[in-house]
């Protein structure tokens, strides 16, 4: 059975575009990446799955059940982490988690304690006193405490430090091994690449492509910024795999997809003043990806 089936989902907020005719499936047991720039429609799609908003047309099914009509039944099996986490400020973390757990039957304290320990979360604090990152941790724990069959994460890593991020990814992989399906929305390609088996790319409210992650992984995009001691030789970076090229005397910046050794060899005999190699933004990749 498919974990998620979305067909021709359309949502406008008044006249403002939310999503237009979005369709894709998520197989049971996979980790599906849902990527796109801010405002592309990721949250709109997810909030429809959670029946926080109602679609204008189209349907969304989770494990074969309609998200709106059978909403209560559907939501029993979902763990959801919203992109912005807000709770009742006056509550203690533990009480909020217990309240959350009470919607799914018996409160499993060992599970709450285990998750809190992994995420390094202090259960005795008031929500109000927590930093943004710590609130996000509360969100993660409350999303996972009932062992959901489907985990929906909307930009989950914002605000949490790399160490906790790693633990969080491990936790998600662990849940996935136990059989949970994961829908992972993000605008950061590298974290999607790390976890997911397939990705769906959404832009301006429309689904552009659903792609196997290997395809994206084999194309190794990096953004290079180079400053030379002398003016650049003419057409120095004119090799295959270079795109978005911009040059200004001694400086050059571009996106290179391919074996990094090729670029390093090329630079080896040059007098380099400064060199940065970084992850390109999603927009930059899209530009590269769809130029071809």
């Amino acid at each position: 059975m498919k974990a998620i089936e979305i067909s021709n989902l359309t949502k406008y907020y008044g006249k403002a575009r939310g999503i237009i005719d979005v369709s894709f499936d998520v197989e049971e047991g996979e980790i599906f990446g849902f990527i796109g720039p801010n405002g592309a429609g990721k949250s709109t799609t997810i909030r429809t799955l959670m029946s926080l908003i109602y679609p204008d047309s189209g349907t969304a099914k989770i494990f074969g059940k309609d998200c709106i009509k059978d909403g209560v039944e559907v939501r029993k099996g979902i763990g959801y982490l919203p992109s912005e986490v807000f709770y009742y400020d006056n509550m203690k973390v533990l009480n909020l988690l217990k309240y959350s757990a009470s919607f799914y039957g018996k409160v499993d304290m060992t599970r709450i304690k285990y998750l809190a320990e992994v995420m390094d979360l202090d259960l005795s604090k008031k929500i109000d006193d927590l930093s943004y990152g710590n609130k996000k941790k509360v969100g993660i724990v409350q999303g996972l405490l009932h062992n959901p069959k489907l985990i929906i994460l909307d930009e989950p890593t914002g605000g949490i430090d790399p160490l906790i991020q790693q633990r969080f990814f491990d936790l998600i992989l662990e849940e996935n091994k136990k059989g949970a399906t994961v829908l992972f929305s993000s605008h950061i390609l590298s974290e999607v690449q790390r976890l997911c088996t397939r990705v769906g790319i959404i832009k301006d409210g429309k689904m552009i492509k659903v792609e196997n992650i290997e395809v994206l992984q084999n194309t190794n995009y990096k953004k290079y910024k180079i400053t030379m001691r002398e003016d650049l030789p003419k057409d120095f970076f004119g090799i295959t795999g270079v795109s978005n090229y911009a040059e200004d005397h001694k400086e050059a910046s571009f996106i290179f997809s391919g074996d990094p050794n090729i670029m390093l060899e090329k630079l080896y005999h040059q007098k380099v003043q400064n060199l940065t190699i970084e992850e390109p933004s999603l927009e930059e990749i899209f530009m590269h990806y769809y130029e071809k």
Binding site: R75, F86, F103
Partner: protein, 265 residues
């Protein structure tokens, strides 16, 4: 049930502080009753010198300030305002809670229908106004007993308490309706006070111009406490009107709440 318990916990401070405020108010004014009763004759003489329209507009006519229930009736205008603000704040607050604190993505993604969520919330608001009315009425009853040497007519006292409750019911359901229809509710007290005083202003006008139609527009005019004190009877027509309007308000609140798109943060 968990939602109800949670909501009752979260509204504990509001409930307590309003109750304490009300009791302090009534305690202070009731302490003045013996002095007022003594001077009732003089006061009446002064009031008689004011233009009749002015006295009516202030709601001072028809109250025998020398009698404990007459005095209570005279205070009832202020008590009603207090209770109305509390009830409307309760109704509007409980329905807009998740939107105000941006917790919709928490509560509304749980495996529970919006109908159930709002039912528990409405029940909590209802419980709150019931508790506040009941505790206030019982405590005040004993204050009246202590203050009055001639005893208290219990039947009339109960009717007045019932009116307090019915007016609160109107404002609670009205608050719920407003809370579900307004797009972004950021604060509660300013809009609530604005609207309650708006209804009170209509009542003020309706008392000054005895135009019967104006009275239909404001719950403050539904029940004439002075008349109840003298006749011991409720105006049933307005009782049904109050209940009917409350049912319409709450029904609209439910319909809108179940259908609406929850704003993202």
């Amino acid at each position: 049930m968990n939602i109800f318990i949670q909501e009752m916990k979260m509204s504990f401070k509001t409930r307590l502080s309003w109750l304490v405020g009300l009791l302090v108010f009534i305690g202070l004014f009731m302490a003045m009753f013996p002095a007022m009763a003594k001077a009732a004759g003089t006061l009446q003489a002064v009031l008689d010198k004011f233009p009749a329209a002015f006295v009516t507009a202030l709601g001072l006519a028809n109250y025998d300030l020398g009698n404990i229930l007459g005095y209570y009736g005279f205070l009832s205008v202020y008590i009603l305002l207090f209770l109305a603000i509390f009830a409307m704040k309760m109704g509007m607050g409980i329905i807009s809670e998740e939107i105000r604190v941006k917790a919709s993505d928490f509560l509304l993604t749980k495996p529970v229908s919006r109908l159930a969520i709002l039912s528990w919330k409405a029940l909590c608001a209802f419980a709150n106004i019931t508790i506040v009315s009941l505790v206030f009425s019982v405590v005040t009853y004993f204050i009246c007993l202590v203050m009055s040497s001639k005893g208290v007519d219990t039947k009339i006292y109960v009717l007045i308490s019932l009116i307090f409750f019915l007016v609160q019911l109107f404002f609670m359901t009205f608050g719920m309706m407003m809370g579900s229809f307004l797009k972004k509710v950021k604060t509660l007290l300013p809009p609530v006070m604005g609207m309650v005083f708006g209804f009170y202003a209509i009542q003020f006008l309706s008392q000054s111009f005895p135009d019967a139609h104006l009275a239909y527009l404001t719950p403050f005019a539904y029940f004439d406490i002075a008349k109840i004190i003298s006749t011991g009877m409720l105006d049933m027509q307005f009782l049904y009107l109050d209940l009917g309007v409350s049912i319409v308000f709450i029904a609209l609140a439910f319909i809108k709440y179940i259908k609406k798109d929850m704003p993202s943060v």
